[in-house]
Symmetry: C2
Subunit: 327 residues, 2 copies
């Protein structure tokens, strides 16, 4: 932490309390933090950056911005099969940002620290003339050799997804004034799923050693599956009717069938998409019971470099707005 | 790394090659990196953020911006006594930033990776409408229990500083059109010292176990000494004439004595300021020989909560522009 106008006070008042459970963070008063890695574990490190006006809206509540920021990285840690441990936080903000904003933002971080078991250990706070820019580097632990990569999928693997897919993408549309045909109650549900996605921090570490590849669904179901396919040099067959949708998402698709494309290609669900051989099917049942989480088999990896989507009649389905190849 | 417009290509072309020496970075194609910490070592983690127009100028060369960004964090790692290992990089930049810019920036990173032995293992690249915002989280290793903190100074400790102090602050003035009374050759020297400060990455780890506290001089000599004093709950007596100045800095002060205040309170030298008991004096001699680095004793820690500065006559010196208390 280097010195800039007002930085010391902001850190001392709002951020230093978030580091108290880790002695090696020195109350955020030193040049760096010093942390221990448990014997037999590797460290997993991931960085995500959110920019006001791009990844969140200026009017979003500070506590929701804090939650989104942390959960994006927590989801990456989960996808590697690791347990959350620490994070460093960089905040570039307009000078004169109110102490109320920092207070609410820090409270949001604290709530998620308690929920997900992660601790702030350092960072930097600087002034910018531009939009609020938040960058978070999260660190987690995984048993040596047990990290799950994107590149381990095998031909014939079942393709699994956790939770429900598509609510977040629909929620973003609802939040920005679209989906006028959806009831207020259902819009509220979808928006909450977009605003506070729940990363699979308990599921991820349990998958390690049982699955061959994993990724979190942040770019969109098909887009993220394509990342697995690319690194694993394989393709996939997906059964569109097996994709797990919420009651609300189902009602949206019933009313306007085109929205299935958004569900297939939209992002931000922060569920885990993973591949495993047949022996995982029985493990899936016990994990579902243990963690109260949906695990749904939606297809299979194939020895061909493309993704094909099939409807219930066995016909090929083509995404009209083929967003996933055009990030 | 999450997907945004053009991000995948930028990462693949310019940043992925920087990660090649670390298998656990997965060529930057996965959700996170997986790294091993050597047995018996702790990990040191530090984050620094630089904003265009605040910490560097829009017209600065991309390779110089890259060097500054890495070296700020390398200096923090050195101040903890740790050996550089890895870094994650977040880049928020205007969409449409030229590939030439990314190329030169990545070349600057690569040059410093080779010089200082640190490897890129992850990050994020996002679009912003605002100034270029770079955030770097660096990771290093230190033997368990050997990290040097700011809070370990003892009353009676000698106060030491590495290298030469003040060139960087004078260099910033020279770069922004001040110091008109200084020759072009000397201005060029000072500017180079500001643009490419050399972090003490070899010295830092050698100090661990021999010194009681350390910090890097980034906020300014007296300001950073004050950080040590605050956390260690002590004060300091400084001999102004013992502060090591370059030939050029000496000539500036000879011509305009007021500039000594800038030398005392300016920042960005990235030298190490540390305290140690008398037994370090003989070690200092051998370190100076081994590493070809100046180590200069400039004062002593005292059991009083203030910093006092003395001139060669033993009179107290007062900084006129008392910048260091007003970050």
């Amino acid at each position: 932490m280097n010195g800039k106008l007002g930085e010391f006070e902001i850190i001392k008042t709002y951020f230093s309390p978030l580091s108290r459970s880790e002695k090696g963070a020195f109350n955020l008063t030193d040049d760096a933090a010093v942390i221990e890695i448990p014997d037999g574990f590797s460290m997993v490190v991931t960085t995500d950056t959110l920019v006001e006006g791009v990844h969140f809206l200026s009017e979003d509540l500070p506590e929701n911005i804090a939650a989104k920021l942390l959960r994006v990285s927590l989801s990456d840690l989960a996808a590697m099969g690791s347990i959350p441990a620490y994070y460093n936080l960089s905040i570039a903000t307009k000078s004169g940002t109110s102490s109320d904003w920092f207070k609410a933002f820090a409270e949001g971080l604290l709530a998620d620290q308690m929920q997900f078991g992660i601790t702030l250990i350092g960072g930097d706070t600087v002034a910018t003339s531009g939009p609020l820019t938040l960058s978070l580097t999260a660190m987690g632990f995984v048993k040596k050799g047990n990290a799950i990569s994107r590149g381990g999928a095998k031909s014939g693997d079942d393709i699994w997804v956790s939770g429900l897919i598509g609510d977040a993408a629909l929620g973003l549309r609802a939040a920005t004034g679209k989906l006028s045909f959806v009831s207020e109650k259902n819009k509220k549900y979808l928006i909450s799923r977009y605003t506070k996605p729940v990363p699979q921090t308990l599921l991820g570490p349990k998958l390690s050693n049982h699955v061959n590849s994993a990724i979190d669904v942040s770019d969109g179901l098909i887009g993220d599956l394509d990342h697995i396919c690319e690194v694993s040099k394989l393709g996939a067959d997906i059964q569109i009717d097996d994709i797990p949708l919420s009651r609300v998402a189902k009602s949206v698709v019933t009313e306007k069938p085109d929205y299935i494309d958004l569900i297939l290609s939209g992002g931000d669900d922060f569920e885990l998409l993973f591949t495993a051989d047949e022996s995982f099917r029985v493990i899936a049942k016990s994990l579902t019971k243990m963690l109260d989480v949906n695990l749904t088999k939606i297809g299979a990896m194939v020895d061909r470099r493309s993704i094909e989507i099939f409807d219930k009649n066995g016909d090929k389905y083509f995404i009209q707005n083929n967003g996933y190849t055009h990030f």
